[in-house]
Symmetry: C2
């Protein structure tokens, strides 16, 4: 192969080595080998850890081709090279996949600023943005701003372990203007068991990944109240409609179509059928609201905080400041139930407030 060809090939680094990061590396590694547009080798930045055996995680990944801590039992592909040196891991790459926990991404980007290639394209797989009263802190925006790069997002109904087991799933890539880049990312992630679509709507796609957790709390309450599938379906539908209306209030460019993609309705369904937010909310309703979410998180999740409860609080504040509370009765009720102001059963008292006509509807 001529040197020119090598230079023209895209080189990928996965910035993160957790469960989802390892699955992303596996997907990308299999496609990098198959597709001529990509360099065979895929780098994975490993936040170094020492195993009980005394070995370093990055060495073990490179020796065994397995992330023994975060994705044990699954071969990543022998073209995945773990690298514990962040700057070194990214320096030759023009495609960076961000997949660290959301609280670390800002720090990682600050360390990378000025150290990456000028032609880098980024994609964020990170869910869980903060929703401040001045608006949501999109992680794609953060990456884009700190690194001065274009940044897509990939979301959807995809649980890392199920994709690792090659069960059929879908994902949605949200992009801004440059469809060609989005299609390149789609190529890199698509496999026979992962169907990836693209939509020109970074904001809508990323917001779906965060707002669905608020709806999952509502769905869990309905489960705990044993109200049946009809009521649960109604609450999920109302939640999807509020997700869409809320996203459009904040970003008028958000597209209706996004909510019918995997990141929208499908991720919402998965999250409302399984998931931790649903589970803890179910327990909350079963206890008649007598045990707080804090206590139940302690018991069920060993103190880990639920994304949905935090997001519901943040969304509520934003709605309150803007005078939008009446437009989003479900989002509003979820927070008021979480903090014990109204009982769990209030989640279905919508008849009184004539919900469907009060939400801004799409054209």
């Amino acid at each position: 192969m001529a040197n020119d060809d090598l230079l023209r090939k895209h080189k990928v680094t996965v910035v993160g080595c957790g469960n989802w990061g390892s699955v992303a590396a596996k997907l990308i590694a299999s496609n990098a080998l198959k597709l001529t547009a990509f360099h065979d080798e895929v780098k994975m930045w490993v936040h170094e850890e020492t195993l009980p055996s005394g070995e370093r995680l990055s060495d073990v990944i490179n020796q065994t081709n397995e992330n023994v801590i975060y994705l044990p039992g699954v071969k990543l592909g022998n073209n995945v090279v773990a690298d514990p040196d962040l700057e070194h891991a990214v320096k030759d790459s023009d495609m960076l996949v961000f997949v660290s926990p959301h609280q670390f991404v800002e720090d990682v980007c600050m360390r990378l600023a000025g150290k990456i290639r000028k032609d880098v394209e980024a994609i964020s797989l990170i869910k869980g943005m903060e929703v401040r009263v001045e608006g949501p802190c999109l992680i794609s925006y953060l990456i884009s701003r700190l690194l001065a790069v274009n940044c897509c997002v990939l979301m959807g109904a995809n649980i890392a372990n199920e994709i690792a087991m090659e069960k059929f799933s879908e994902a949605t890539i949200g992009y801004k203007e440059n469809k060609e880049v989005a299609e390149r990312w789609a190529q890199l992630f698509s496999t026979p068991y992962l169907s990836v679509s693209t939509v020109e709507d970074v904001e809508g796609v990323e917001l779906c990944g965060t707002l669905k957790n608020v709806v999952a709390i509502a769905a869990g309450l309905v489960d705990g109240l044993e109200m049946g599938n009809n009521t649960k379906a109604a609450i999920m539908r109302i939640g999807l409609k509020e997700m869409r209306a809320f996203s459009k209030q904040l970003f008028p460019s958000v597209m209706d179509q996004t909510f019918l993609e995997s990141c929208g309705v499908a991720d919402l369904i998965t999250t409302c059928l399984g998931g931790r937010n649903r589970k803890v909310a179910e327990a909350f309703a079963r206890n008649g609201g007598k045990k707080s979410f804090d206590e139940l998180e302690e018991e069920i999740l060993e103190g880990q905080k639920l994304q949905g409860v935090l997001t519901a609080k943040e969304v509520y504040e934003l709605l309150r400041i803007n005078g939008w509370l009446d437009l989003f009765p479900l989002f509003r009720a979820v927070h008021e139930i979480c903090i014990g102001h109204i009982p769990p059963s209030a989640i279905v008292q919508y008849g009184e407030i004539h919900l469907p006509s009060s939400i801004p509807s799409s054209p």
Copy 2:
């Protein structure tokens, strides 16, 4: 109250006395008493039956205020008057609610032709239209044509018994042009536990009620294959997208919005979580397709035919004749699996055919 007022009040007859018809009568009766626009008395046409006691069903309903056969234990409201004489039951009414089993509606309409008021408005609650190769036989069209009246439809994620128990549900009314009439129907059905919205799309709303059963078969297959919530959510999403694309191919006036209403995504969720179509398809996949749907229907439903299997076959024929099979890989696969041409596992082999880009997408 002056005679003029009485004349101006709308008078309602429920044409049907089954499970859903009885619940409809209960909803309407409670609103007719409350709202001044409607005559207090609500007629219900009863296809007469004789109880084991020798009493006639219509007499028992009028004496006990309960449909002891089809909705035992629930009071309909003492302003519901059962009438076994079809012509007599409708003769003073200007609002007719059609809720008989779908195979009887044509006969009922033929008996009513020329015998109803000139100003009648109709609404159909009947699901289960036939999909002929020349197009779906919308039941609202049939009623409209045979009686020369305007006909709305009411569909949604609403199981009669759950509404009878006053569990929170939603419904969607599809109408043609006349929004005022649709709002009047919405008033008549809305209660604190049933939230009713309207959408100017008779065809889309009615098609949802039929096509969802094909998707429920796909969802049941995924359950039987134990592929998990991600895969199931993906299949439901693809199904919803095919429902929309199919409806728009047949009726370009169909609106995207309809699929986010209760008749769309919510009814689909309910049907894919519970329901007979899902259940039998699950058993089919568990048996590796070795027992036919016919046999399983015999075992599980005591020979009753599954709507979804019939509709899948009819939809397949329509797709084949029009050369659209490749545009609807999920609908296609469901029928081919039902008749044993491909294995149940083929329901998730979408990666190869790049589904998302092959479906006509919305603007």
